[in-house]
Every structure is written in structure tokens, then in C-alpha cells.
């Protein structure tokens, strides 16, 4: 069997949106829920709830990283202001009124990424590459380190990139971590 793989430099914003929604679990670091696929604000960011029911904003632009960042910051302020309303509308937030985390995805890191990451613990920046295998597109997300570099420039052991594909029509149920066991439970199941 011959496998045909190639990388693609450019991507349509809507296709990137679809791929990011598919990669939501990897972006948020656990099981996540999609609240809004297209918020009606500048850049039309994505709103998710992470495994701890905290809101997560994903702002992106296929090329213009600065626009993605600024749109994301503006949307974060709007979400923070509208938190009581959001918690009424979205049960997935469990009425916790937690401030949103911001994920900015673009081809290159925005200018001043180093200072931003150092000063904003709730901000994460990702670079991306689109990989096409036959007819299917996949997304290679590379977290930007505090030094402003993407994962491809850093040693492999620091953080592994995440890959997703646009194969599924419906979101899959994300893997749920099995609950841990107490010492008493472990001892109980040690022997029959």
C-alpha cells in the first residue's frame, strides 16, 4: 500500500474551525464540550467547556496571528462580562462563574508572544500545520513556549504535539479518566 502524505501551507478559516473543534479535547487537555462553534464576535471564536466545566475560548486565524490574539483578548473580556448570563444558558459550565481561558491558534506566534505568555497564565498559544493524507486533512498543533518558539523548534521531550483528523462527522465521546482507587480499595482487590 502506498501512503501519500503532504503538508499544506494554507487552509480555509472554516476548515481550520472544523479541525479545531475536532481537536477540542487535545486543546483543553481533557474531555471538553462544545458550547458555541461560532461566537458572533470579531474573528468568530469557538467557545468550549473543559473537563472542569471552565469556559475556554479558542480564537484563531489561518495566517494573521495578531488578529487572532486581539480578537481573542476582546472576546475574553466579553465572555468575562457575560459570565452570569453564560452560566444561565450553558449547563456545561455548572454555574461556577470561572473566568475563561484563552487559546490562540495561528500559523506563527503573534509578536510579543514571550511577554504575553509570561504575564498571562490563562493564555496558550499554538502554531499549526495542516497535513493531508490522501483526501483527509489533519492538524498538527504545536504549543508555543514562553520563548516564543513553536514545538518544532524545541527539544522533543518538552511537550508533544497533538494531531487530529477531520474524518468524523460527529464529535466522539472523549476518553474519560477512570477514577483513582484509595489504598483500602487497592488492598481489597489485591487478592481474591
Amino acid at each position: 500500500m502506498k501512503l501519500c502524505t503532504r503538508t499544506t501551507d494554507t487552509i480555509d478559516a472554516d476548515e481550520l474551525r472544523t479541525l479545531l473543534i475536532d481537536a477540542a479535547n487535545e486543546l483543553t487537555g481533557g474531555e471538553s464540550r462544545l458550547l458555541e462553534a461560532r461566537l458572533p464576535w470579531d474573528g468568530y471564536p469557538i467557545l468550549l467547556a473543559d473537563a472542569q466545566y471552565h469556559p475556554v475560548l479558542v480564537s484563531f486565524d489561518p495566517i494573521n496571528s495578531q488578529a487572532a490574539l486581539l480578537n481573542g483578548l476582546r472576546a475574553t473580556e466579553q465572555v468575562a462580562t457575560a459570565l452570569p448570563w453564560l452560566n444561565q444558558v450553558y449547563d456545561a459550565l455548572q454555574k461556577q462563574l470561572r473566568p475563561p481561558r484563552l487559546m490562540v491558534v495561528s500559523y506563527d506566534p503573534p509578536p510579543g508572544a514571550e511577554a504575553l505568555l509570561a504575564g498571562c497564565p490563562d493564555l496558550k498559544l499554538f502554531g499549526y500545520k495542516v497535513v493531508r493524507i490522501r483526501q483527509e486533512a489533519g492538524l498538527l498543533l504545536e504549543p508555543v513556549a514562553a520563548g516564543g518558539e513553536t514545538g518544532r523548534d524545541r527539544p522533543a521531550e518538552r511537550e508533544a504535539p497533538v494531531v487530529t483528523t477531520a474524518k468524523e462527522e460527529r464529535p466522539r465521546t472523549g476518553p474519560v479518566a477512570l477514577p483513582s482507587l484509595s489504598e483500602e480499595e487497592k488492598n481489597y482487590f489485591r487478592q481474591l
Partner: protein, 229 residues
């Protein structure tokens, strides 16, 4: 002489919501109405691993042979609304009385919030512990299903009972979740040992009888009318 139970058999203190759970269960046992006939009966199976899918397919055949027209529909591990699943099943199942839903994904089971769930558990300590962890995950949800256990591959009835007892006592003691023993399939009837063992149907028949006698199935509603959403 004072009689004292081993700590393993002692039930943990009654949880605050327990009486409410019991009350809700009995209050929901209303007599069958006309609307109940417009529903789909399903039996979800949570498999320890994919190699156990022979159990559900054989059980499906046995149920059909015994006059309960049954069909098999592997539960998709996609986020699918409960009412949409019911309609998909109705299309797939046609006039079948029961639909068996095997899956290895605890997440899929969680997503559909079934009333009943059958766990297929291989007869070894690792699998029993894995089953316990899955039950613990289910018990952490707002709605814990009724859980039945089928042990697969024990040496004999005595071994099956020991594995079931280990799991059932553990879930009762630490999670306050009672388990129903639905039976076992001894290693001599497992396909790896005996590809065409005619005793296998005897064991599967016993399991099917217990499932039906205890009404161990979930009811999925029809898709709600869009106008009512």
C-alpha cells in the same frame, strides 16, 4: 456467642440520598400505559474488551430462538442524542423486541445514561478491578444505572461466584452500588476452548432468562417532535 459480620460484608452507612433514590424508583414503577408501547427496549452491554463480542452475538441468537426477536447494534462512541439513538435503533431493529447494544466504551454508556447496564467481566482479578473502576465512574454520575454482571471464562460455578462476590462486595461496601448476578460462561464453553460447544447455549439461555425475568432492559423514547422542543 455474638454474631459479627466480616467488615467486607458490612454495608457502608446509608447515604443521604439513598431513600430518595428508592422512593423515586418505586414511584416511577407506574403501570404500563399506551405510550409505553411506543418505546424501544434495549440492553446495553459494556465489554471488558472487544474479544468478548461473541457473547452478545450468541445471546442475541439465543433470545431470538426463544421467541424474543432480537437484534444487535454496536453502540457508536459518538456523541449522539438519546432520542436520535432511539430512532436509529427503531430503523435498524425493525420489529425486533429487543436490541442488544455492545460497547467497550464507558464514555458511550455515560453519554446515553441508560437505566440498566450489563458488564461482561473476564474471570481474573485484573478484569474485576477494571470493572470496579468502571462502576465507580458510573456511580459518580447523577444517575447510576442498575448493573448486572456476567462472568466470562471462570473454571466452574464456584470460581464464578468467588469473582462475582469479590466485585459485588467491593461495590456495595465502597460505592453503595448493589450488583445483579446474571450468570456466567465457564471456560469450557468459551470459543477459544471449544468452537462449537453445544453447552454454550445452555449457559446463554440461563443468562437470557435472568435478563427477561428481572426486566433488565432500558427503554428509549421516540424522538421528540421538533415542534415541542
Amino acid at each position: 456467642m455474638a454474631c459479627q459480620l466480616s467488615p467486607a460484608w458490612q454495608r457502608k452507612a446509608v447515604s443521604p440520598g439513598r431513600m430518595e433514590k428508592i422512593r423515586d424508583r418505586f414511584l416511577s414503577d407506574a403501570p404500563e400505559t399506551e405510550a409505553d408501547t411506543e418505546t424501544c427496549q434495549v440492553i446495553p452491554f459494556l465489554l471488558d474488551n472487544q474479544a468478548l463480542d461473541w457473547v452478545t452475538s450468541n445471546l442475541c441468537e439465543v433470545l431470538t430462538e426463544r421467541g424474543h426477536d432480537s437484534t444487535l447494534y454496536p453502540l457508536p462512541d459518538t456523541v449522539e442524542p438519546r432520542d436520535r439513538l432511539a430512532n436509529t435503533l427503531r430503523e435498524q431493529a425493525g420489529n425486533a423486541e429487543l436490541c442488544l447494544l455492545p460497547t467497550t466504551s464507558a464514555e458511550a454508556v455515560l453519554a446515553h445514561a441508560f437505566d440498566h447496564l450489563v458488564l461482561l467481566v473476564p474471570a481474573n482479578l485484573d478484569a474485576v478491578l477494571a470493572a470496579y473502576q468502571r462502576i465507580k465512574l458510573l456511580a459518580e454520575q447523577a444517575h447510576t444505572p442498575e448493573i448486572g454482571i456476567v462472568l466470562v471464562g471462570p473454571r466452574d460455578q464456584h470460581a464464578a461466584w468467588r469473582f462475582f462476590r469479590k466485585l459485588a462486595v467491593g461495590t456495595l461496601r465502597y460505592l453503595d452500588v448493589p450488583l445483579l448476578n446474571l450468570g456466567f460462561l465457564p471456560e469450557q464453553v468459551v470459543p477459544e476452548h471449544a468452537p462449537h460447544d453445544h453447552h454454550r447455549n445452555n449457559f446463554l439461555t440461563r443468562i437470557s432468562e435472568r435478563l427477561l425475568r428481572s426486566e433488565f432492559y432500558s427503554t428509549l423514547p421516540h424522538e421528540v417532535d421538533q415542534a415541542n422542543v
